[in-house]
């Protein structure tokens, strides 16, 4: 292997940095004796920073071109760079938010940090996957870490149960996904998306029975994606896991993996199986409508805030699917950049909103006084006006009220749907958003118009508070000036 070939593998530099960093973290953690795990924490943040810079380096070096390395198993394009940058920022924020919470409960162990970094590695692998194999392995790496993270709070029966459910259902979903992949592999004889794309197009055109076989495999693949996204009817794990896991771990599950799930859907469906777009778009329509309906309606009935946010996740992922399903109209991809760009924008904004909402819960929670029921939000404005205001921003954004970023994200997706000619879907989306606005605004009402219940607990401060402010104001700023992020997303989609 020549030097140039060797150097070409540097396009996986962020992954390498992260892997080395995660392994080193295990050793560093041995030296970190204090309860606050200051050294390990700083080391982890340092690794994230270096990996972030490495991604920027790879990005600038690639000059907007696409490269395949590791015999085509790994793709390096603008989409992967952008999503990776988002993922680094997200996980870094997760660390900042989760640290005081975990520390107070004695859960801040080296394993949390290590597993989090390995989970991130799984996300990166999924984002850069160009083959069934690398995608599946990345997925397993990610979910294995998540199972362990949920179970990490060993003394909590709820957490253990949630981890068990997550594990069993996740294994089932993995099986389904693998089955679908094997079906498509059997038909096309390749694992690489770059080969599968033209192969499926040729096969699907050759005979209708062949096409049916491919669609048959597609059903299982879509089921795997739907499980990861949490779309109805593959959503059952979400409420239980969100509720059962400690809030810090819920924060982990509810944010960065959504980026991975989005990348997974994009790589599998848009990169790998564009020839079957007509078929998977119909499947996504069903998933999207069911998710929006069930997510929004069920959220209203919840009294637990984490559970409510879990159902809200389901509805938001349904909304995001609307963008994914309106890219190809009548066989041409004219609408693709707008639609997939809107979906990507939606995902990024959703991750930001989810970070903020769970961040507020973490900050408002204290030892012995978890902030996770709706009643806990009562009179928040009286106790901590700024935190209440930030929560208000998050809720407005989640509900899609202008000028928050959530509004623009919804708007972009809906206009993509309308451009695709699916008017009734757009109407349904708007209707369900209106239903959804109810339970978000109820939180605002509780915070501002109800009297505080129980003992007033002072909310935490420090870096988490600062970052949370930045987070909330970023949502406002993105709502007012969305063009930059939107242009970035669309450029990333164009690189597909």
């Amino acid at each position: 292997m020549s030097l140039a070939q060797l150097l070409s593998h540097l396009r996986a530099l962020p992954e390498m940095v992260l892997l080395a960093g995660a392994c080193a973290l295990m050793l560093v953690d041995l030296a970190s004796k204090s309860e606050t795990r200051r050294l390990s924490y700083l080391f982890a943040q340092g690794v994230l920073l270096i990996a972030f810079c490495a991604t920027l380096f790879v990005l600038s070096e690639s000059e907007g071109k696409r490269y395949y390395i590791f015999y085509g198993l790994f793709v390096s394009d603008l989409l992967s760079h952008v999503l990776k940058l988002f993922a680094f920022i997200t996980v870094s924020a997760v660390l900042v938010y989760a640290r005081p919470y975990l520390h107070e409960r004695g859960l801040l162990k080296g394993e949390f940090l290590t597993l989090l970094l390995f989970a991130l590695l799984g996300i990166l692998v999924m984002i850069s996957a160009n083959s069934f194999l690398s995608l599946y392995l990345g997925l397993e790496l990610l979910t294995l870490c998540l199972y362990a993270l949920v179970a990490l709070n060993r003394d909590s029966a709820a957490s253990t149960e949630a981890a068990m459910k997550y594990f069993v259902l996740g294994a089932l979903a993995s099986g389904l996904l693998l089955y679908g992949m094997s079906m498509i592999y059997g038909a096309t004889g390749s694992l690489l998306f770059t080969d599968i794309g033209p192969q499926t197009a040729a096969l699907a055109a050759s005979s209708s029975s062949m096409r049916t076989l491919l669609v048959f495999g597609l059903v299982f693949v879509v089921a795997g994606i739907a499980f990861k996204l949490g779309a109805v009817p593959f959503h059952m794990w979400i409420p239980d896991v969100y509720h059962g896991a400690s809030t810090a771990v819920t924060l982990v599950i509810g944010t960065a993996p959504k980026l991975a799930a989005f990348a997974m859907a994009l790589r599998l469906l848009v990169n790998g199986l564009p020839a079957l777009a007509v078929d998977w778009q119909q499947m996504l329509v069903v998933l999207a409508v069911l998710s929006m309906a069930l997510g929004n309606l069920a959220a209203i009935a919840q009294s637990n805030l984490k559970r409510m946010l879990a159902y809200s996740t389901i509805s938001h992922m349904g909304f995001m699917l609307l963008g994914l399903l309106s890219g190809v109209v009548g066989g041409n991809r004219l609408n693709a950049v707008d639609a997939y760009g809107a979906a990507m924008f939606y995902t990024a904004v959703y991750v930001l909103m989810s970070l903020g909402a769970f961040g507020v819960l973490l900050l408002a929670s204290r030892q012995g006084a978890e902030c996770e029921r709706l009643e806990d939000m009562k009179g928040m404005n009286r106790r901590d006006p700024w935190l209440a205001f930030l929560m208000l921003l998050m809720m407005f954004s989640l509900a899609g009220i202008p000028p928050m970023a959530g509004f623009y994200a919804k708007f972009a997706v809906i206009s993509a749907v309308v451009q695709a000619g699916q008017l009734w879907l757009a109407v349904a989306a708007v209707a369900f958003s209106l239903v959804g606005a109810f339970y978000y605004l109820r939180v605002v009402k509780l915070m501002y118009f109800d009297d505080p219940a129980g003992v007033a607990v002072p909310a935490g401060g420090g870096s988490a508070r600062w970052l949370l402010s930045v987070n909330g104001l970023a949502l406002l700023a993105l709502g007012l000036l969305p063009q930059g992020l939107m242009a970035l997303c669309q450029a990333a989609i164009r690189s597909l």
């Binding site: 892997l19 392994c23 295990m26 590791f70 015999y71 198993l73 790994f74 162990k109 394993e111 290590t114 597993l115 390995f118 590695l121 692998v125 083959s131 194999l133 690398s134 392995l137 990345g138 397993e140 790496l141 294995l144 870490c145 199972y147 362990a148 179970a151 990490l152 060993r154 059997g186 038909a187 029975s209 062949m210 049916t212 076989l213 048959f216």
Partner: protein, 198 residues
Amino acid sequence: MLETIVFYAFAAILLGAALRVITARNPVHAALALVLAFFTAAGIWLLLRAEFLAITLLLVYVGAVMVLFLFVVMMLDVNLERLREGFWKNLPMAVVVGGIMAFELVAMLASRHFGSATSTRVVPAGYSNTRELGRVLYTQYVYAFEIAAVILLVAIIAAIALTLRRRKDTKALDPALQLAARREERVRLVSMPAETER
């Protein structure tokens, strides 16, 4: 012709054994049925000339995993039957759904596309299944191989993190601590005025 007969025999045994795994009331029987299922699966792989994989399956799953599992079952005296209480209750529904699904799968897959079970490609003389596998594993699939390694590492970390428990009341000794102890930490000399008896 002979190959086909052997294949169907193995396939029948495999299905029967798999069914036994989930229906057997005695956990040891179930585990043994699973061993049988692995054996026949390895046999089918041999028919497909995947010798290395067949041997690995036997060595790893039958030789290590299942034996370990049997030990656990026997030593812990787990009442699997109680764990599977819902099984018989849900069976009718499961049979219906499973039946429909199996029917559909057969309807789909009995088509012309997976016609030949055996490879028709002619294998050159001196072809080593194991060597080819190794070569591909460390070249073409090195990336996947590395990630698989990381997954194993994570599994180790997770297993330790979830199961390692230091008991608070343990009486175990820590030699390092004992050796590091110094006199000042153990003995305190207190000077007191002498007390005389009157």
